[in-house]
Amino acid sequence: MRPSNEPFFWAIFSAGGMIVAFLLPVLVIITGFLVPAEVVEFRQLDNLFGNWLVRLVVFGVAFFSFFHAAHRIRHTLKDVGLRRIATPLAVVCYLAALAGTVWAAIVVL
């Protein structure tokens, strides 16, 4: 029985889950509906994303969301029948999350 490295990923998953739970619905309403309806305009978005603190928050949300999603997708696929390839599955999922995080860093820099 070797000690698990799961606490590390579970901690990020949980923190991400909390962040997503609090922020995602309102963010989807804003960027998915208020922006295309032009209630929120370029000037406002430009002001916001011009601020380094806002960009840092965007990066943080992206990092936690990607790893949250990767962890969940990994375990769901395992539960619906991919248990035999659990290890490569985990590697692929977390690498995808890492790629997303790197891209997020490039976007906000």
Binding site: A21, P36, L48, F49, A69
Partner: protein, 129 residues
Amino acid sequence: MPGPLPRRKSNAWWNRGWPYRIILLRELSAVAVAGYMVLLLLLVCNVRGGEGAFADHLEVLQSPLLWLVHAIILGFAQLHTTTWFRLVPKAMPLKLGGRRVPDELIVAGAFGGWLAVSAVVLVIFLVVA
């Protein structure tokens, strides 16, 4: 004499009634979360690319397909929020004065906080910016 019947298993456990189906949908919300983060980062990218890049982005955003995609994402986001808050008191029970705080109270507190945070984010986008 033949022995006992081995364990029976099925990968379609998630189709054994609504509680299990909702759990699978809850887990699938992760796909919507990841997808939305890609859309959000693209928006940030194009806003920073200037008015021209944003205009192109806006045109795509206004297509019926993207409305639909965002509606689906919103559904999953809400499912995540609802299920997540309901499970919070199970993982992190609170005790006050030697008594366990009722689960319903913790859940209500989480939803209250969520409404407040959502209002603040809306104000930031609509008023402050």
